[in-house]
Amino acid sequence: LESDRNQPISIEADSGSLDQKNQVTVFTGNVVIKQGSLNIRAHAIRVAQDKQGNQLIQAEGNPVHFGQQLEDKGYVEGSGNQVEYESSTGLVRLTGNAMVKRGGDVARGAAITYNMRTEVYTVLGSKIAGTASGTKNGRVSVIIQPSTVNKNSKKK
């Protein structure tokens, strides 16, 4: 949700460390991060901030799970062995058994890039991405439900 950005960020983890000089924070062990409707669960999350205040968030897990309520398109959720988010570009990269699901639509591949500003997904197979893919032959798999089905699944 647009309002998520203005909500406080809640973080819980087994341990944490802050490197003031390099502006890097690392949380490790059962990491749960929530901000409004956005929630992320991972084994470890590293947050680095540059001098301009741009943040690079890198999460690792078996896999990393995330989910967020979209403005008017239902709930999107995804998973991947690594998830990376750059605030300066608005790009979210899932690599390693990447999966994104929204309503009845599902995309699987070795790597998925989602542009939060343009809402465009790019799904790569393992040959190009060079990482494991959840699909049998390493190729991309995308299931898009007909809009009638989508409307019904939103009403549920």
């Binding site: 203005n6 406080p8 960020i9 809640s10 973080i11 819980e12 341990s15 944490g16 205040g53």
Partner: protein, 191 residues
């Protein structure tokens, strides 16, 4: 020579003899050091304050305490209701206060043993920060601070807690070993 004359020198001899005996007595006497009660202060100060200045003459550290005392063991200086404030170029940086503290002279460590509060003053870039815990060991040589107790911290509107903490001032690193919880408000908009 009359006997009476003899009396004078005899008396003198006796006196001198007595004196030398007394002097000898003194010189061979073991000076026995009276052991002070180790549990009782060797000295004690009430409502003390101490200031330290940097090379340019600006105030660097200011310590106040309701009471300070030292035990005969000479190892520790104890402070009650101590409040240490630090400054850079006369500008307040942070303060550390505790109900009771002990400064180990050889180790150069301060053991805050009862309810410690660290406060970082707000400046034009950062909101005020407060850290509370039960006890804290500050190594003034290594410039580290460490506790195994629960710590609670606030930073502007943000807040959090953890079980234990280790802060290394030189490297600027803070480690929170267990049970980290934080609620972070965007510092730019929220303080």
């Amino acid at each position: 020579m009359k006997f009476r004359n003899l009396i004078f020198p005899l008396t003198l001899a006796l006196i001198l003899g007595g004196l030398s005996a007394w002097l000898e007595r003194i010189s061979t006497l073991d000076v026995e050091e009276v052991k002070l009660d180790p549990a009782k202060p060797q000295y004690s100060m009430e409502n003390l304050s101490a200031s330290r200045f940097d090379t340019s003459g600006s105030l660097k550290e200011y310590l106040i305490a309701r009471q300070g005392w030292q035990l005969p063991d000479q190892e520790n200086v104890f402070l009650q209701n101590a409040d240490l404030q630090t400054f850079i170029n006369g500008e307040p940086q942070y303060s550390v206060n505790g109900l009771s503290a002990r400064y180990h002279l050889k180790e150069k460590k301060v053991y805050f043993e009862h309810d410690v509060v660290l406060e970082k003053t707000e400046d034009n870039q950062r909101p005020a920060a407060i850290v509370k815990t039960k006890n804290l060991v500050v190594d003034t040589v290594a410039q580290t601070a460490q506790t195994n107790e629960l710590i609670e911290f606030t930073y502007g509107k943000s807040q959090g807690s953890a079980q234990g903490a280790f802060y290394d001032h030189k490297s600027g690193k803070l480690d929170l070993p267990k049970q980290v919880k934080a609620l972070i408000y965007d510092v730019k908009t929220s303080h």
